[in-house]
Subunit: 309 residues, 3 copies
């Protein structure tokens, strides 16, 4: 039962629970009208202490498409945070008004902290600092399920900034809970997957390389990621590395015909525009999956998925 639960990091849910969310997302995709009123009369508090239009829109569209409504803010400066109130009091007050809350906060651990104060209201972590972003992971899983038929038995290439990539760490840890996954980590040496993640994997289940060209032909899934300027110590380092692993038409020619290219977006230039029209490029479809999986998640946490009559 997911009703009343919080989602702070992907590990909070069993694989069976994640699969039940995927199943509901599938049903919603097939029959959106059947779910367009299940959240009638419910309110989502959309609490963005750090701006993130994409994630915020995805959650708000999800709630509205379930028939629910939104209260929220997208800028901490417009909130009353400055009056010295504790986050615990803030969340207990917001719980008076709303039925479920999404929180994004620049400080690691904030979502977990806040969830301890919410007595009845489920809390969804929409990103806390460099830490976790579990609904991106659910988005990635739904995309793989939808465009590769399921999450087991794939060779998954993960390319780009693997050192700082928050969403990538969550995805790898979660995919590792499925059967028959082989990872190929593709990054410059300076941005390798950190040891603490590698230690959680079976040594036979992954390889590391610095060359996308060498391995692209083996992949079922290629997960590209953004090189975030703000993660680098110097502008020179950024400029030297940012174009290192750019996916273009030439590289795509070596890839399998049924490989899919994923990206959490926004991209800067790590995928050339010319790739967008390739049917294997599913990154915009992935964004749409993000909305559907959030619909399923909200409905599950509120326990309203069967309100469709």
């Amino acid at each position: 039962m997911l009703k009343g639960r919080h989602l702070i990091e992907p590990g909070d849910f069993q694989i069976e629970e994640i699969e039940s969310i995927m199943q509901l997302a599938d049903n919603i995709i097939t029959n959106p009208k059947g779910y367009s009123l299940v959240c009638k009369g419910k309110l989502l508090a959309s609490l963005f202490y750090e701006p993130s239009t994409r994630t915020r829109f995805s959650f708000e569209a999800a709630m509205l498409r379930l028939g629910g409504e939104i209260i929220g803010f997208d800028d901490p400066n417009n909130s009353s945070v400055s009056k010295g109130e504790s986050l615990g009091d803030t969340i207990r007050t917001i719980e008076c008004y709303s039925d479920i809350a999404v929180i994004r906060h620049p400080r690691e651990g904030t979502a977990r902290l806040v969830s301890k104060f919410a007595k009845e209201m489920p809390i969804i972590n929409a990103g806390d600092g460099g830490h976790e972003h579990p609904t991106q992971t659910l988005t990635d899983l739904l995309t793989i399920r939808k465009y590769k038929g399921g999450c087991d038995n794939h060779v998954v290439g993960v390319c780009g900034d693997l050192l700082f990539g928050r969403t990538i760490h969550s995805l790898v840890k979660t995919l590792n809970r499925y059967e028959g996954i082989t990872f190929i980590f593709i990054s410059p040496k300076e941005l390798k997957m950190p040891e603490n993640i590698l230690h959680q994997l079976n040594p036979d289940s992954y390889r590391e390389t610095t060359n996308l060209d060498d391995v692209i032909g083996e992949l079922d899934i290629l997960y590209m990621s953004r090189v975030q300027r703000e993660r680098f110590v110097s502008e020179e380092e950024y400029l030297r590395l940012k174009d290192y692993y750019i996916l273009d038409k030439k590289k795509m020619r070596k890839a399998k015909e049924d490989m899919i290219v994923m990206h959490p977006l926004p991209r800067v230039n790590e995928i050339a525009i010319e790739v967008d029209d390739d049917p294997r490029a599913v990154y915009f479809k992935q964004a749409k999956c993000g909305m559907y999986v959030r619909m399923a998640l909200i409905a599950k946490l509120l326990g309203v998925e069967d309100n469709n009559d």
Copy 2:
């Protein structure tokens, strides 16, 4: 009849009118679904020229839970105020789009001014500078009614910053219109209840003290208030006084078993966290009462409270 009226300060309404709002709030609390569509097709303009997440959320949740919708802003910098338009023109334009408006503005008297330009649209004052905040008063009254059975015949302790406390002045003036109220004002000498408020009270109906411990045992209601750093002339004065009147478990032991502790929130440290679990602490329930009383107020001013069929 409250339909079409403005609420700028508590004195705008007769006690009988206030009681009719309380009665409707009671009905909504008992049967929220019965009122979940009464504002269908109605729009609330939520005009926050000064940020106030708590108050804004309360109003917006109220409107949405009545089935209405919201347009609004929470930051004057994102509005077109800067183009030199008068507030009168602004409000006449907004009246083209919406059915009722809530306004919060840093300048005293703005809500009253604006209400003179609105020809058909009720205006609710959500705070104008240090002046009035009438829906906080309604919130306080509904809390007293709900948790003390009614607003007559109580010994009411009011503690903290009584000099600058906007919400406290409104509450005292309004409670004074009920029967059998005795006030005990508890504050440092520097932050005493101002003379112009005391002059409005029967001299037999109040006492002043500097010591919460001495009087807490007599109280039916203890209304705590925040010591606002920005009200003090110096940081030293603030530091000297802020912890002076902190409510903790030790003080609570001397209080009546059915006393209630109220606070308009946000609190800083004037109520110790350890008091939160005491059943007499109703300040978070008070926030919830705030939403319900705003639902009742909006429904009354729009004249839609009987749309529940």
Copy 3:
């Protein structure tokens, strides 16, 4: 068929198409309840990269009064624009969440650019820099139709800043597509209608003057406009010219009894407050027309106008 089309500038639509929007707006005004659910389940993305409370409220109220819902932002600083994403990617992502989008952007041509990336989602230009603002033109046309019986055969005075007035250029070009329109352009020499607009008109269909008093008696419609401080090179120039063409009661005495006074709002002081109560002053009614015409436009572009059963 307007379904699925974009509206970037008034010239995108044939006169017959514009008239079909007007006709629908008339129907909505007559029977608003009949259209209160036609956008049920639809989402409007309200993308204001430049603040504009008035325009934003008008669009959002329009969508909500059709039964639709809103996601959006009113401040580019709270969006993820800063992460270096292209507008094309932004719009393709937003298309995953919403059914139609309104965009206002300070850079000329942005709405047109963005519309090329939207594959299924209609884009409405709500103003791009000094360039176009087509829904203001539709607003003006509906106002003329409603208060003058139709858009053909009028003497139209256009007064104020004719050089920089974005909304005025659009209106003149569009009215010029109707029958029997005579324009009288009234402005200081420094702010005359630009040559490129005049060249599009039949030389017999317009006159220019610097004196409102001389011509006001001939007019069926007087369109006043704001003198925008930010358009002037110096403060002195602004102060010298701004009060030059102020409409007051005295001037109104010379006007026809059935002339109407229009203004896109906000006004500063180019129309004296004393004129507001004159029945010929329709500028606030014009703002209301703006909401209705946007309702009609949204319903047409979504192809849902017949969902009223």
